[in-house]
Symmetry: C2
Subunit: 237 residues, 2 copies
Amino acid sequence: MAKYKMIADTLKERIKKGQYLHDNRLPDQSKLSEEFETSRVTIKKALDVLTNEGLIYTIQGSGSYVKKNALLRSKNNIKIGKNLGLTTLVENTKDIRTEVLGFSVRFPNETEQTSLIISRDTPVYSYERLRYLEGKPYSLEKTTIPVESIPGLSKKVLQGSVYSYIKENMGLVFGEYHQAIRAAKPDEEDLKYLNNKLDEPVLEVEKVLYLETGIPFEYSLVHHRYDMVEMSFINNS
Amino acid sequence: MAKYKMIADTLKERIKKGQYLHDNRLPDQSKLSEEFETSRVTIKKALDVLTNEGLIYTIQGSGSYVKKNALLRSKNNIKIGKNLGLTTLVENTKDIRTEVLGFSVRFPNETEQTSLIISRDTPVYSYERLRYLEGKPYSLEKTTIPVESIPGLSKKVLQGSVYSYIKENMGLVFGEYHQAIRAAKPDEEDLKYLNNKLDEPVLEVEKVLYLETGIPFEYSLVHHRYDMVEMSFINNS
DNA sequence: CAGTGGTCTAGACCACGCA
DNA sequence: GCGTGGTCTAGACCACTGA
């Protein structure tokens, strides 16, 4: 591993242990370069890693400091649980099951054509999956993938992780995904599969997944039960 | 401005103009350092900026390439509009008005104590604001800020941008914010202020804003009308 | 094996915070 | 004005891609 990454890891460990809690201040870059027997540029690069990860901040002319909230950072993720509330801590339970409801090949609708940048004549896989937590359905997921992206997709693969299949068998590298999040009234399928009552909303997530190259790979529309799923994010202002 | 930033800006301009569209490939780093009369390290730093912004990707041993979706990137943001739909393009209209519904000082509840890391005896400002788009209310916002953070806050300030007031008058630097997003049934206040019907859900956003130092600064809980607001994000997988 | 990106160095100068 | 972080250089070596 690169030297700057190892230094970054070491510093992260120290921060976790509270080693710099005295005044939240890290040793200056010259001291660090002596300690790690390296150039100051390399130290700076390691500190940049910590800055980007939100663990420290630096003030030119003053020093580098550990953020007060360095330790309570969780990544962007989906929390799944029952009886979500404002202060409820949700455990990521492991009893999660996936049921494949349908798997077909068809032509894309207009939204899919736009999102995936394909013509109306480009065939796509289309499948729906229902997710269960402890036997209770919590989200209904409709996914669309151009056939040309993964020629050999089968229903069996859908039961597991499609992504690891793709990574390992196709050698594709994923890039970023764009998503839009809304609240919505339940539709007919939500009533049927998520057991929603008419006054129970869903959390709707529309997502486009891109490869590293920037080519769109997958379009999905997910409805989550409002009382079992929340999404959390960390952003920079 | 630093040289690497100027180079990054120049390259961004070129990408926008489509200058590297031939095979999506940028000149190699040696060529770029000749062109910009600088060292290769500086070029690398400029390319790192573009990589972090999701405009390009590099493959060691091969080259640097422009992503196919480099041009359709919008930042994380809130879209406000009427009749939101899956394919609807929403304009950020300017006819937005803010009404301050209440402004008081009190002690924090448990959620606020936890989120702001303050004791139950620490006084906080508490205020509600209602936002209108073209005369129609679209979100109800409840905000809590410890008094010690901004001793001189007044109701007048709330009508405008609290943040610019704070930046300019207090010299505070904002860091990141953490947010959780859910769908929820409307509560009594939503029915009253957002004119929700009983079967019309809200998009609930719980947010904690931190200063650069990592000290929590503001806690807020916002309810958005489901048919007027959506939130969009770009994430890395 | 030639081309390209990733990393690292030692030293330099500048910009900024703070007393 | 001293201490600190931010940037930059010229050159070097290594790791990886792809023909």
